[in-house]
Every structure is written in C-alpha cells, then in structure tokens.
C-alpha cells in the first residue's frame, strides 16, 4: 500500500509518532509529553510495588528474598528514577490543575502583532521549571539516602 493511501486511511494523522517528539512546540508540549511518560512509568512501578510488598504475606524469608533482589545498585538507581519522576509528575500535576482551572493564563483581550499568546506565559511555564528543579533536588537527596545511608 502506498504511503499516500496509508496516510489517507488515517486521514494523514501523525498518529502515535506525533506524541514522541516534545521539542517542536515549546515548554507546554514538553510538559504534556513528560507528564504522560512519567505517569505511565509510575503506574508500572506502582503495580510492581504492590506486587513486591505482597511478599510480606509469605513470611520473613520471602520478604528478605525480595529485598535481595531490589536493594542492589540497579535497584537503587531505579528507585531514584521513581523519586525523580514522581516529584516531577506531582509538581507539574499541581501546575496543570491550576492552568486547567484557568488560573495563571492571563485574560482574553485584543491581540496585536506579533500575537504572542497570553496563555503561554512565563508564570505558568515556570511551574514546569520548578518541577524539574525539585525533581533534580529530590533525586540528589534520594541518592544520598540510598547510597550512603546503609
């Protein structure tokens, strides 16, 4: 099937590939991409976490066996990823709640050249930067606890 027909079958929609590149349209598009990615990652982690903690019900040996598996260098690195993604997802999520309630976006008015949109302003955008910075700080603190707190 030719490329054109394939494209027309789905109305030439970008499809899932359109979700993958977050660099084309500014910070808010990056926030959308990152929120989705971290959300799915955290959901997968959460299911795994509920499963790993269920080893409690099988007694001390089962629990310790689970700890052997997870309290490793790779386990710690994975946990640091979880710390970073959950911090970002939470802080950015709070920012998204504010923006979807219409706060921090400016008011409708009479746009003039060069037509900068008032919703894509630095005030709400800074929430994304704060989320990234807090995630980095949390990851640093987490790695401090995990790698030297033994």
């Amino acid at each position: 099937m030719g490329v054109l027909e394939q494209k027309n079958n789905r109305n030439n929609r970008e499809g899932f590939l359109g979700w993958l590149d977050p660099t084309r349209y500014g910070w808010e598009r990056f926030s959308y991409w990152a929120q989705r990615l971290t959300g799915v990652f955290l959901l997968v982690y959460f299911v795994g976490h509920v499963y790993e903690t269920s080893s409690l019900t099988s007694g001390k040996d089962a629990w310790n066996a689970m700890l052997e598996l997870t309290q490793t260098v790779w386990g710690h690195l994975f946990l640091i990823m979880v710390i970073g993604t959950s911090t970002f997802h939470s802080v950015n999520g709070i920012r998204i709640i504010f923006t979807e309630l219409g706060k921090g976006l400016g008011k409708p008015g009479r746009p003039d050249y060069p037509y900068y949109p008032s919703s894509l302003n630095r005030r709400q955008r800074s929430g994304i930067w704060i989320a990234l910075i807090l995630a980095a700080i949390a990851m640093l603190y987490g790695s401090n606890v995990l790698f030297s707190g033994e």
């Binding site: 030719g2 027909e5 359109g18 349209y25 500014g26 409708p108 037509y115 900068y116």
Partner: protein, 247 residues
C-alpha cells in the same frame, strides 16, 4: 555573498497524486530569495518557472484567509506569513498539513475539520433570532463584554492548530482546538443563550477533556487567537470554578 540581496534557496516540495501513482516524492526547486520573500512567493515562483503542476492553495497572501497552511520545516505555518529569512538554512521543506487527508501535493481536505466545527453550532443561539423582522432591541454589549470573546473571533480557520495538536494526531473524534476555541467564543459572548447545553456538547469521552494544555495550538496560531486559553477557560466553567457571568 555578503551584501548581496538575492540568493537561492532549495524548496523541497512534497508531491503526491493518487490519480497517477501511489508513490510520493519530494521535488527540489531552486528559487531566488530576497529579504522579504515568503515561502508562498517561493512556491509560486516554482509553480511559474519550474513546475506548473505543483498543487497549492492560497488566496489573500496576507494571513487573512487561512488557505495556505502547510508544514514548513516541520511546523505548521501559513506560507504567506513565513519569510524564508526567518527559517534559516539553505533548504526549506514544504509538506501538506498533518492530520488532514491529502488531496494532492500541498492541498489537504478540510471537510472533517469543518464537520467538527459545525457540530458545536458556531453561531449565536438566542431566542430573539427568531424574530428577524421584529427585533425588540439591539444586542448591546459593553467593551468589557466584547473583550471576553473578541480575540477568539479572530480565527481564520486555517487549521494550523488542528495540525499541531497531539490529541488530534491520534483521536479521530476529538473536535480539535479550533472547534473548542470557537465553542468558548460563543459561550463567552453575552448575546448567546446556549449556556449549559454548549458545555454538555463536549463533555464526553472524546470532548474537551482530551485536551491536556500542550499549548501547541496557541504556539502556531498566526492570529493570536490563543485557543488553549479559551479551552482552559471553558474547562473552568465546566468544573464550576468560574460561574456563569449572568446575562
């Protein structure tokens, strides 16, 4: 090169013609470029002197009609509103707008786009409308009331926002930022009596809630409509955060 006003740029124009073949290809056209040359100028030069068969839609040449929307160097833009000089580089890639079916070359089919728009009743809904001959009084509006919806009325239906939106990329039932922005335009208009019914029109699985404020629509809008703002404001009404301003 320095001091010379004219130089050449290579336009890579997407070519597709289902009547002839299933294959698509990029045609390379060298066009002369000056400081003020727009992508549309370049395409028309190519059409005039290099290959007359290039299919392209345009009309006003001044960002007023919304006809010449296309993907230029990866971003949906109006060809008449994009200067070659602002793009940089020696190559400009012109492709048809994504998320619209391709008719031929750079021309796309807007019927689905317009269908979404029509579905939300993009006109003033008002009892007085029925009495066209015996209208009781003018629909008066204060400047503040006009400012609440004015910028959203600047929409020229160019489709750039629809192309940029990540939800439109995968969700065929999603109305798109243009439609939702226009829904807000009418909801916020004090002359409109649509009220809650307008909100209910998009309160479903593929409605307004599939917007996640990726902001790409507002980023590419050439008229400053800022559909993202309209959509988030509409959501605040649906969540009961903003109350109806009362008529």
């Amino acid at each position: 090169m320095s001091g010379a006003d004219e130089r050449k740029i290579t336009l890579k124009v997407f070519r597709a013609n289902t009547a002839r073949s299933k294959n698509t290809y990029f045609e390379l056209c060298d066009v002369p470029v000056q400081r003020w040359t727009t992508v549309l100028d370049g395409l028309l030069y190519a059409k005039c002197f290099i290959d007359p068969s290039i299919g392209i839609r345009y009309s006003c040449r001044m960002a007023s009609c919304g006809s010449c929307g296309m993907k230029i160097n990866g971003i949906p833009r109006l060809a008449c509103y994009t200067k070659m000089s602002e793009l940089g580089g020696s190559e400009v890639i012109c492709e048809p707008l994504p998320n619209f079916p391709i008719i031929r070359d750079l021309v796309t089919d807007f019927s689905q786009f317009f269908e979404h728009h029509k579905r939300v009743q993009p006109y003033i809904l008002n009892q007085d409308n029925h009495q066209t001959d015996a209208v009781s009084s003018d629909h008066r509006q204060s400047p503040e009331e006009v400012d609440r919806f004015l910028q959203f009325s600047y929409c020229i239906k160019c489709g750039l926002c629809y192309s940029a939106c990540p939800t439109v990329a995968t969700d065929l039932k999603f109305p798109g930022p243009q439609t939702l922005g226009q829904l807000y335009r009418y909801y916020a208009d004090s002359r409109d009596g649509g009220g809650k019914d307008r909100l209910n029109m998009v309160d479903d699985r593929h409605g307004i809630w599939r917007c996640h404020f990726a902001g790409s629509c507002s980023k590419v809008c050439p008229k400053g409509v800022d559909p993202a703002l309209g959509i988030q404001l509409l959501k605040s009404y649906m969540l009961g955060i903003s109350k109806n301003r009362g008529k």
